[in-house]
Structures are given as structure tokens and as C-alpha cells.
């Protein structure tokens, strides 16, 4: 399934709600930007990950909840949560 900006945002909101154990209504969208990421890991590699060095167009999604900001990065294939508890996570796509 190819992701759009809207579906990526929807997945990100749901992921954060599940992760923090809060309803989605308590999450606010700080910003959604079109971004060119440096590589196929969207500049958010997980441990032991090698990535194609191709400039990859996608979206940087910043969500706010419980007084903190959470950064998601997505393109048409994948969504990642950047630096959550010290590490990057792939939440959609493999």
C-alpha cells in the first residue's frame, strides 16, 4: 500500500496514542512538512540498518502530547518514529 501525507499522519497519530496509552483526541498536530530526507531510512536509521543513499521525498510530522513533541518521518513506503526513548523505530513498512 502506498502512503499519502494524510494516511501517514493518520497512522502516526494512532501509533502515538497506542504508544502513550492516550486517546487520539489528546494529540495535536504541530506541523506536517514536505521534506527531502538524505537517504532511504529517512535519516532515521534503526540499529544495524544500511540505507540507499538516495534523496527521498517525504513528510516530517510533528505531534504533541503530554507536553512533549514527537517526530515522525514518512514517505510513500514507510513511517518512522524518530528518537523515541533514545532510538528510532519503524512503525509502518519493513
Amino acid at each position: 500500500m502506498r502512503l499519502s501525507k494524510e494516511t501517514a499522519l493518520s497512522h502516526a497519530r494512532k501509533d502515538l496514542a497506542d504508544r502513550l496509552g492516550i486517546p487520539e483526541s489528546e494529540i495535536t498536530v504541530e506541523s506536517v512538512e514536505d521534506v527531502d530526507f538524505p537517504d532511504a531510512s529517512l535519516g532515521a536509521p534503526i540499529e544495524d540498518e544500511m540505507a540507499a543513499q538516495i534523496i527521498t521525498s517525504g513528510w516530517k510530522i510533528c505531534l504533541q502530547a503530554k507536553g512533549s513533541t514527537y517526530e515522525y518521518r514518512a514517505d510513500e513506503n514507510q513511517i518512522r518514529l524518530r528518537s523515541f526513548n533514545g532510538s528510532n523505530k519503524i512503525i509502518f513498512g519493513d
Binding site: 537517504d39 532511504a40 536509521p45 544495524d48 544500511m50 540507499a52 543513499q53
Partner: protein, 464 residues
């Protein structure tokens, strides 16, 4: 039937057979005479066709901020029509002229709109002429691949708004060699779309005299087109597109009237898959694939180069050892310097930053010979630069696409290494690397930023 009648019938039959044979031969002679009669009646030429039969076509690429509706308005204003949009290249359209101008005149009209137009060229290759256009002497080495006009990396005439000559000097190199199918380049990546029309002729297929791959853990793998380390299978079909793009830069078939020309018009591309659908993969799978390449090399294949358009900041001793082993097996490892706009001397990017004699680390240039804004650099650890911004190449499903990254710069270097190996099959890895680095065109933009201080020059690299 008595004996006398038998002989009479036999003679009559023989006479009939000979007569039929003579008649048949006479008809063939008559047919041949007709065929070779001088005639021009069925030979359409540019001269005897009217404007109604053929409108001049021009390929025009507009700047990215010009919308299609604006393009159409501009065309109408010039009494032209937009005949086709070339989807694979943003804002590239085929224009038909309606007021009797030559293709060159039409192209010139668009070139004058420099604030809107990147380039405009007569579209000879997709014209409906039965005869090919007369090539001027300077055009004789141009391949007939229709998207070659956009391949500034190989022949930069300023056609895409860049600096003429800011290219790898492919045309001059092709006077010496256009590559060889005896040279195998392993594309260690997301696999390759080995059925792509512009690649299929240059895809490696395991020869009958090389046994299937056998691994202690994986068992026997019938590696017809290469190896898939993601699933530990034989099928390295690309699901991402990145590996297919790199493969096209190295060796899309040249002069086949399809798509683009690779640095090598002919070569053998060995598809290897360790990056998945997202374009990322694990160190372990990269090592598995390198082990496969070394095994195939040891079984007798002439694999000279591994193209590695990927990386990360994670150091792995095991990966370093695998690449060292590839070097000991006679394989050059060409690696992307990375896209973080950072200094690899301070923040290493692996595998490009492993200090191994068989590694070449590659930075990316734009069409004006400037270091691309995203490209990593490193006076001590990045060796050479090559075009890597807005590079058109093959993509999944017979498509073509522009992409940017040190990923795209790397296969230009691998491609030139393969050209060298086509002329000098026994060249050592050390000499191959030295030839590439010693033959660069020094650039002010790279001074103190990368080790060789220059852009790869395919023509000079092929000199003795």
C-alpha cells in the same frame, strides 16, 4: 506394367521434374531482377514528404515551477501544441509545431525563454522519418537512446541549464570502448529489475559451466540472475527501484533506441538484493551478498567491481572484513560517501570510510561541477566525485526516473572502472583504483574537500 512402359514413365517423370525446377529457377531470377530494380517509389525521404506528413517535434523541458497548463498556454502562443508529456522526466514535453518552422527553429524559440525553459532540443529519434537524420560529425558518437539528451552527466552541453563540459567525458571515452560483456559488475543493492527493456541485454546470467551457488547454511541456490540475501533466495528482483537506477547508470544498453545509455553500452550487471522494499537492509545481509560475489569470482566469473550505493554511520568489523576479502579476490568496492552534507573525516560513513585499499569513496556533483549540497566530503577519506544530482536512469516496470544522491554518483565511477577493465582485463585492483584517481579533472569546488580534488574523467581514465 511391362519393363518398356516402366522406363518410358520414369523418363517422363524425370523430364517433368527438371522442367519444374527450371521454371522455378526462372521465376526466382525474375523476382530477384524485380527486387533489385532501381526505384524510389517506395522509399519515403525527408525531401519528398510534405509538411502535412510530418510536423517537426521538439523536446522541451520547462523549469519545475512551470505548471502543465502554463506550458500548454506557452505552446499555443507559439502556434504549437503539446503532443506528449514525458512522465519520467518532470516538465519534459514533446512539442509539435503548427506553423512550418524547422525543429531547430522551434527549439530556438523555446531556448529564448531561459527563465521558463531548462532546455529544448529537436527530437530526431522519435520523429516519424523513415530515414535517420544525417548526423553531423560531432553527433556521430551520440547514442540513439531518446532520453540521452537529458543525460548531462555523460554529455553536458548546458542542455539542462548546467555548465557545458561538466560531465564524465563519456563521448570521448566511447571512442576507445563502449564496454564489454566479459566484465561483470555486481550491483549490491535492492536487486535489479532484470526484465527492464533497457537492461535485459546486459544482465548477467549464470553460465552453464558455473555451478549453482552452494552455502553451508543456505544450501543449494539456483542463482540464475544473481542472489537475494533478504530472503536467501535466488531471485534478486528489485521491489524498490534504487538498484535498478544504479544498474542503468552503469550499463543500460546503449544505442538501442530505448531510454538512456549507460556508461557502458554493454557490460554484465549482476543483480544482488540486500536492501528491501524500503531501500534499507542489514549489515548481515550485505555480508551474505558479498560472500556470494566472492564465491562466484572464485568459481571463475570475471567480477571486477561491486557497486555499493548505500551506507550508514555504523561501524562493522565483519563488513569491513568481508570487503577486504573481496579486495583480496580482485574486486574493487565503489561506495557512496553519504548524503548528510558532512565531513567523513570527522563523521565516518560506512562502508565508504573503511580504510581499505579496494574501496573508492564517491561524492556527488551537480550539473555545474559543484559539490552537491547534500553530498558528504572528506579531504582524507572521500576519494573522487561524480555527477549525482538529477540523474535520469532506469526504474521499475520499464520506467525511467530522475534521482539524486551519492547513490547516483557511485555507479558513474563503477561504470568507468568497468570501461577500464574492458580494455585491460587483467588490471589489478590497485592499478584500477589508481587509474581512476589519477585521471580526474581537478575542480576548484573540490579543492581541500576530497582526496583527488576532482571529478572522474572516463576518457582520461582509459588512456595508458
Amino acid at each position: 506394367m511391362n519393363r518398356q512402359n516402366f522406363w518410358i514413365h520414369l523418363m517422363l517423370a524425370a523430364i517433368l521434374i527438371v522442367a519444374a525446377a527450371i521454371l522455378g529457377q526462372l521465376r526466382r531470377w525474375q523476382s530477384d531482377i524485380e527486387r533489385f530494380k532501381p526505384t524510389t517509389a517506395n522509399k519515403p525521404t525527408k525531401q519528398n514528404r510534405t509538411k502535412k506528413d510530418r510536423e517537426p517535434e521538439v523536446l522541451v523541458r520547462f523549469r519545475s515551477d512551470v505548471s502543465l497548463s502554463e506550458i500548454k498556454k506557452i505552446a499555443v502562443k507559439l502556434n504549437d501544441i503539446v503532443e506528449d508529456e514525458i512522465e519520467s522526466v518532470k516538465n519534459l514535453v514533446a512539442i509539435d509545431d503548427l506553423d512550418g518552422l524547422s525543429a531547430e527553429q522551434v527549439a530556438e524559440e523555446y531556448r529564448k525563454m531561459a527563465d521558463l525553459v531548462l532546455y529544448a532540443e529537436p527530437n530526431y529519434e522519435i520523429s516519424i522519418d523513415f530515414e535517420k537524420p544525417q548526423l553531423t560529425p560531432s553527433n556521430e558518437l551520440l547514442p540513439n537512446d531518446p532520453l540521452f539528451v537529458g543525460q548531462w552527466a555523460l554529455n553536458n552541453t548546458g542542455q539542462t541549464g548546467g555548465t557545458p563540459g561538466a560531465d564524465i567525458r563519456a563521448l570521448k571515452a566511447w571512442q576507445k570502448t563502449k564496454g564489454s560483456r566479459k566484465v561483470v559488475v555486481a550491483v549490491l543493492d535492492s536487486g535489479v529489475d532484470y526484465k527492464h527493456l533497457d537492461l535485459i541485454s546486459n544482465i548477467w546470467i549464470r553460465p552453464d559451466d558455473i555451478p549453482p551457488y552452494e552455502d553451508e547454511e543456505l544450501g543449494l541456490i539456483n542463482d540464475i540472475y544473481g542472489f537475494n540475501a533478504v530472503d536467501n533466495l535466488a531471485d534478486p528482483m528489485d521491489e524498490n527501484g534504487h538498484g535498478t537506477h544504479c544498474a542503468g547508470i552503469i550499463g543500460a544498453e546503449g544505442n538501442n533506441e530505448i531510454g538512456i545509455a549507460g556508461v557502458n553500452w554493454q557490460v554484465e550487471i549482476m543483480p544482488l538484493k540486500f536492501l528491501g522494499r524500503n531501500g534499507s537492509g542489514t549489515t548481515k545481509d550485505a555480508i551474505e551478498a558479498i560472500n556470494y560475489v566472492i564465491d562466484r569470482k572464485q568459481k571463475g566469473l570475471n567480477i571486477r567491481i561491486i557497486n555499493a550505493s548505500w551506507g550508514s554511520h555504523i561501524y562493522s568489523k565483519a563488513l569491513e572484513d568481508a570487503i577486504r576479502a573481496a579486495g583480496e579476490a580482485g574486486i574493487l568496492f565503489v561506495a557512496a560517501a553519504g548524503n548528510n552534507s558532512s565531513d567523513n573525516d570527522k563523521f565516518p560513513h560506512y562502508p565508504a570510510s573503511y580504510n581499505l585499499p579496494n574501496i573508492i569513496s564517491v561524492a556527488a556533483l551537480d550539473r555545474n561541477d559543484n559539490l552537491a549540497s547534500f553530498s558528504n566530503y572528506g579531504f582524507k577519506t572521500v576519494h573522487i566525485a561524480a555527477p549525482g544530482k538529477d540523474i535520469i536512469s532506469t526504474w521499475l516496470d520499464d520506467d525511467f526516473k530522475e534521482a539524486s544522491g551519492t547513490s547516483m554518483a557511485t555507479p558513474h565511477v563503477s561504470g568507468v572502472a568497468a570501461l577500464i577493465a574492458s580494455l585491460d582485463p587483467e588490471i589489478t585492483v590497485e592499478k584500477l583504483k589508481k587509474k581512476l584517481l589519477d585521471s580526474v579533472d581537478k575542480l576548484d569546488s573540490l579543492k581541500d574537500r576530497i582526496k583527488s580534488g576532482g571529478r572522474i574523467n572516463a576518457s582520461k581514465a582509459l588512456e595508458n
